[in-house]
Amino acid sequence: GAGVSQSPRYKVAKRGQDVALRCDPISGHVSLFWYQQALGQGPEFLTYFQNEAQLDKSGLPSDRFFAERPEGSVSTLKIQRTQQEDSAVYLCASSTRRGMDYGYTFGSGTRLTVV
């Protein structure tokens, strides 16, 4: 496809359950970012990949959050033992160049609700 694809679009998880969120970036995009967007707020940075290398994971809120991009294309954000405060929209973005100079292309996000 032409855009960044995220799946699932919606996920309801019971507290304590593990979840995996998938991001298919635009083909050939080197940089991939994960952001967390709470209701009514701007996105907050979680982690950044350049190809398969995770160059920055400083935004991951706890060690329950883990992201990978093993072949430098598809990325997965995994949240273990989900908590209610993890409820948010998780946005993936990719960029053709290193960094954000040319703007990110965002996916539509995965809305995670922890009950």
């Binding site: 940089s31 009514g40 707020q41 701007g42 996105p43 940075f45 950044y48 703007g103 539509s108």
Partner: protein, 114 residues
Amino acid sequence: QQQVKQSPQSLIVQKGGISIINCAYENTAFDYFPWYQQFPGKGPALLIAIRPDVSEKKEGRFTISFNKSAKQFSLHIMDSQPGDSATYFCAASPHMDSNYQLIWGAGTKLIIKP
């Protein structure tokens, strides 16, 4: 120092009017200032961006005004249309290879009344 403060939180403008959204920042290392537009159920989309070497950038009906000394920048939407109704986010980042994180404002929900 990492914050970007955005106002107003919500804005209602008549069709054909000018919509103005303001942002302020503290970190003098910031030198990339994009605006994103987000429709419900969609991810943000880059609208327009500016670097502080210019005071204004215009693309169609959208203009960024930048005041480096005041550490403020604003988005002006001329001839606002109902299709412009969306949430707008300002953001900022240092332009260094090792620092690519965008720091986002809290967003402005814009409603254009027909």
